[in-house]
Symmetry: C2
Subunit: 727 residues, 2 copies
């Protein structure tokens, strides 16, 4: 066939594939609802979640903001869009010559928000907008009331804004426009109609000039033949570099000739597709189990965003980059004896860093920064009722702007639910030693705010869990599908002694490549007010030099206030244990301890990469497990504002080296939760959840145990349940 006809045919096929593979959750004007052979059976889609919530963009249309921190509404996004379209140079540029990469509320100054009370008028509503026009990144602030642009600059920093879903989706089909690519695919034994491709950020290595000037993306492809789980069927070693702005293929590289595509067998995970997964006679009988609240949940979500539960209240919203943002979190003891007190002004996922440990050609650049590159919230898909969240959950939508600025609703992006799994709040029995007849036990009920970001293959479940004892537990669960590498080997005994696999052989011809995950959280703690200090409480061995007793050693808690940022760059050492407190030095308890909260680490991991390795420079915010910085509105994104292909000159690590004062000031704590992941066969073809967490825990914040007055469970309060008659 003639080359041009061939190209046209391929474009037609591409367009058809686009139609085939998109669904209409995201209400994009150019997506049409469609059937495709991989559409999963979502059994509960007929039973929408209960509780008052708008179900479509029509309900969101009417919403107006009611709290200064409320995210932009549908109306406001539309207004921002028309402001932009009327503003030079956008007003004179063709509509599809520029893309909007971020359009969110510009939060009012903290001092204003702290003074605001329900019933007060809102502050002027402002939008932060980032757009790319003619390869330039425009950073703008729009005043929605006066419909004007009040700030406009063109970025001069390295790096580019977050990608849009639209361009990510589009580039996955661009390789098909390249005949060399198509030939290669076919030569590897894959039909073009079975192709599924992923947009893979390439990081920045400073080797070629084009890394600085062009927005590039790597595209790697998989075979969809025989399974939904194309991730397990990589066309190994075939990498296409595409220019995100011109949408042109820049380079096609094939380092995988001779490496077979792993088989489709045993990779399926979709429920109805997988005959293996239907009840076999050997599967154990698991009786239904659910959390029941016959009087309904105990929490309220006022005005769509203010959550009130037990002794907590906080503002909750979705964000395209951070996922979930918790603001104005305040607490008091359960007896309700005092007014609500400030704990956390703003908490959110600030950045991720996910380096893969394979330095070869098709893998070395896989060093994802999922928030700044992909948008952690943009990748958060609707949660599945009854499975992602239990029956008693309520759902909150995200409202985002598409690449053309039009608003859309991400339904059920967040769920909120009370959790009770049988945990104990506090207890004490008198033992046989004293023989006293005392047995006091109180249950633990918590409130979970959950989101799940599906960044291509990986699923990140992020929980903000509030406990009545004042603890905020931040938890990250990893699930989804590994990024795997094709290999000629089908058994370990065929791998030569000296050959590095860079991971584990999971199945025939499939290697799970070793990688790390780091999730960095921004935690603007405001303990009972703005001015706090960061105190390291080091537990240090003392020798008992006195001869009074034969005890030789004991531990002493030595408190040291961090005066400047460098004193708050923390690496954990098991044999140099410490507590990490954020205190209000001006507020003491009745007996004179400063009120505070402490960060309690759990399982975590540290990055071991070379500090000069470009990915580690870009991810330098993982050099330490904790940082503390003075509050600064422009310092929210640990990898910098523009992370995509950034050089790492504007990260949290760089700011922290300025060694600014942090004593008795408004400070921000940064905590990085890390995971080392050496894959194993149990992760194939989809991973059971692995999770870790850290706590923000009151330390002398309360005068005494805040849950002393929580009542126990009584039989009379429990429901009477029977099986559903319709079952």
């Amino acid at each position: 066939m003639e080359a041009r006809t061939l190209r046209l045919s391929f474009l037609l096929v591409t367009a058809l594939l686009l139609l085939l593979f998109t669904r209409s959750w995201i209400h994009l004007p150019y997506n049409t609802p469609s059937e495709n052979r991989f559409q999963s059976n979502i059994p509960n889609i007929k039973n929408p979640p209960k509780g008052p919530k708008p179900n479509s963009i029509d309900d969101h249309n009417a919403r107006t903001p009611l709290h200064p921190l409320d995210p932009l509404t549908v109306q406001e996004i539309n207004r921002a869009r028309s402001i932009l379209y009327s503003y030079p140079p956008f007003s004179s540029s063709p509509p599809n010559s520029f893309t909007i990469h971020s359009l969110v509320l510009q939060e009012p100054h903290k001092q204003l928000v702290l003074k605001w009370k329900t019933g007060d008028p809102l502050f002027p509503r402002r939008a932060s907008l980032i757009a790319i026009l003619n390869r330039q990144s425009h950073i703008m602030t729009l005043d929605l009331g006066s419909e004007s642009v009040i700030r406009h600059e063109i970025s001069s920093s390295s790096g580019f804004p977050t990608m849009t879903n639209e361009e990510m989706n589009y580039v996955t089909s661009v390789p098909l426009t390249d005949p060399k690519f198509n030939r290669t695919v076919r030569s590897r034994g894959v039909d073009l109609t079975d192709l599924a491709c992923l947009p893979i950020s390439g990081g920045w290595f400073g080797v070629k000039e084009e890394e600085n000037t062009r927005r590039l993306i790597r595209v790697q492809c998989y075979s969809l033949q025989g399974t939904s789980n194309f991730y397990m069927r990589p066309i190994e070693g075939l990498t296409v570099t595409v220019d995100l702005d011109t949408k042109q293929v820049v380079e096609v590289s094939d380092r995988g000739r001779g490496i077979p595509i792993p088989a489709a067998a045993n990779t399926e995970y979709v429920y109805n597709q997988n005959t293996h997964m239907t009840k076999s006679s050997n599967s154990p009988r698991i009786n239904p189990i659910s959390i029941e609240q016959v009087k309904g949940p105990s929490f309220e979500i006022e005005n769509g965003h203010m959550v009130k539960w037990a002794n907590w209240e906080f503002h909750l919203k979705a964000d395209p980059r951070a996922g979930v943002i918790i603001s104005r979190a305040m607490a008091r003891d359960f007896a309700g004896s005092v007014a609500m007190r400030s704990v956390l002004y703003k908490g959110m996922t600030s950045e991720l860093f996910v380096p893969y440990m394979d330095p070869t050609e098709a893998w070395y650049f896989k060093t994802y920064m999922d928030a700044g590159e992909y948008g952690f919230g943009l990748q958060a898909m609707p949660l599945e009722p009854l499975n992602d969240c239990p029956r008693n959950a309520r759902f909150v939508d995200g409202v985002f702007a598409a690449a053309d600025g039009k608003p859309y609703v991400r339904e059920n992006m967040i769920c909120v639910f009370e959790s009770y799994g049988g945990e104990i709040g506090w207890r004490h029995s008198e033992s046989p030693i004293t023989g006293m007849g005392i047995r006091e036990v109180r249950p633990k009920v918590t409130l979970v705010v959950r989101m799940a970001a599906s960044v291509a293959n990986y699923d990140y479940i992020v929980d903000w869990e509030f406990q009545m004892d004042g603890i905020i537990r931040v938890k990250v669960g990893l699930s989804g599908i590994l990024m795997v590498k094709g290999t000629p080997y089908d058994h370990m005994n065929k791998v030569p002694e000296q050959e590095e696999l860079y991971g584990t052989l999971l199945s025939e011809n499939v290697i799970g490549v070793i990688h790390d995950h780091f999730v960095t959280f921004y935690l603007d703690m405001d303990i009972d007010g703005l001015d706090n200090s960061f105190v390291k409480v080091n537990l240090e061995r003392q020798q008992n030099s006195g001869s009074e007793t034969p005890r030789r050693s004991y531990l002493k808690a030595n408190r040291r206030i961090a005066k400047t940022e460098k004193e708050a760059q923390i690496q954990f050492k098991l044999y140099e244990p410490a507590e990490y407190h954020v205190v209000n030095p001006s507020k003491l308890t009745r007996v004179g301890n400063p009120v505070g909260y402490k960060v309690v680490p759990r399982a975590t991991a540290a990055s071991l990469l070379d500090h000069d390795d470009p990915p580690q420079r870009r991810g330098a915010f993982t050099n330490n497990q904790i940082y503390v910085t003075p509050y600064n509105e422009s310092e929210q994104w640990a990898g910098g504002l523009f992370v995509y292909q950034s050089h790492g000159e504007d990260t949290l690590a760089v700011w922290s080296e300025r060694d600014r004062d942090i004593e008795n000031k408004d400070i921000v704590l940064w905590y990085t939760l890390g995971f080392h992941h050496v894959p194993c066969q149990e992760d194939f073809p989809i991973m059971p959840v692995v999770s870790s967490s850290f706590d923000l825990k009151p330390v002398n914040f309360f005068e005494r145990n805040p849950i002393l007055s929580v009542p126990p469970n009584f039989e009379k309060d429990l429901p009477v349940c029977k099986a559903d008659a319709s079952a």
Copy 2:
């Protein structure tokens, strides 16, 4: 009054106090059920837990053992007792001249148990018995079938057996026989009728010869006036040393003159006693919440001890020293495609070490070893239905021997329940990037085996949690009441600069003393068979020296088999990360990985005490976080068989220095879970639960994800619930 009359009066008062303060849970022949003003309202005692279980000693009377590992039954304990009473020298000694400190099943040899199948006859039933007669510790093995003693030796090791509840209870009133003590108490402003005393193990410091030859205990006392929470009202500095065998006062020491007794105000925690805790108008409304299983739980407990649930089975029993023992834990994938496979032959709490960090006279010796000194199981009180364990729990009793050898039942000592708190088992959504319509989520349901040991003031909640993905999660929760120190200070501004408090001022005149908790677990892993190896998988940075790609560094997993014990003495270092695998080198997966399980640490702590400090020598099993030893029937108790006043010459650390071979052998893994506890006001007057855990997690044990075929929750399976009409 004449001295003798005074003494008699005090003895009478003591006896009356004993009667007043004991309850009849433990069915001791000399305890009578009684009212006392501290008897708590246990609302659910009228509604005994559901499910088939014997409720009293009468039901246990009929039980016979049905599994080789089943604990001694009531009949067997009686038989052992009569064997002992017929055996010299016990047969010729007055009945109350000797005490039985341990009477448990002597488990048949492992090789025999592994061959045994249901329906086979049991092996000859043997009992291990430890008794003290005339200050000598007798170690005996009894054959119950032939009613004979087949082993009898007198211990020559340092240290003494676990205390009995009876002697612990008794010694708390011995100080009252000492006039000097009584005078001191009264001079401190406390009525003798308000006295509550605790038996505090004194450790061993090797200073006085009597530490080696006499069984000594320290007794310290508190005021019960005005509160159930006497722990918060110490008579600071007053320590009585008592001889456990003669029951005589050895020494009275008062270092606390001038230190006030802290007030009773705000210390109450018993529900009905505390008017503060009844619903105040400010307390938040928390709607009832429960776990419901309208078709009942999914697990069976066969023959009283074999638990079968989902893809797990294991033998479960109570033990007076270890608390809960899990044996013969076997698993398979959820699809049930293969037979059950061995994971853990035996898992239990082996020892605890709880050193307080105050070297002064009345505190330096507080270095508890709760399993070997007090009996972790002996101190486990009945669990409270609906609060310790949710509604769908079933309960298992412990059957123990009293100091005179008579059997008694510790009801509801263990509970077993399925837990669902809204967690996710695995999930994957296709993101907007690919636009595919896939959303697959599976819930996570686990099985929890729970016990709570109340060792005087502290409550330890130990959970063995089984997950369908093959994980065994071992969790320790700390709650209960702090051990506090009286102080003259009522505000931090009154404490001189240089003075060490050794802890935190929690309330007026109350210091919470800093302390550590270490809980060491014995884990006889048998991965698919006896012969296993311990493999350290170190993640080490590699430089990418090749010039092919600009990536400078990456992590490589380097596997090293530990050949001898010293290579398996592990201290965790965040910047030297590793995985710790127990593998079966003879069993490979389909693609050639050795099957195994790994230990996954979470938050933990290391002991920093001087290795030559006598408490640390006795607790030397905490020198490392992990040890691995070759299987040895006599090596089960990490602190040695006789821990009370031991010198530390027979601990896990000592055995490990023998550097025995551990490659491709039957090996045992030891894991120590640690906590540093710097008290805070939230711990006053009773602590919210603090917990940590570690996982035993399959690593290439399964060919693929073992929970791939777990079905999702469906609406039709969920119950219809309404409020209890009687409420």
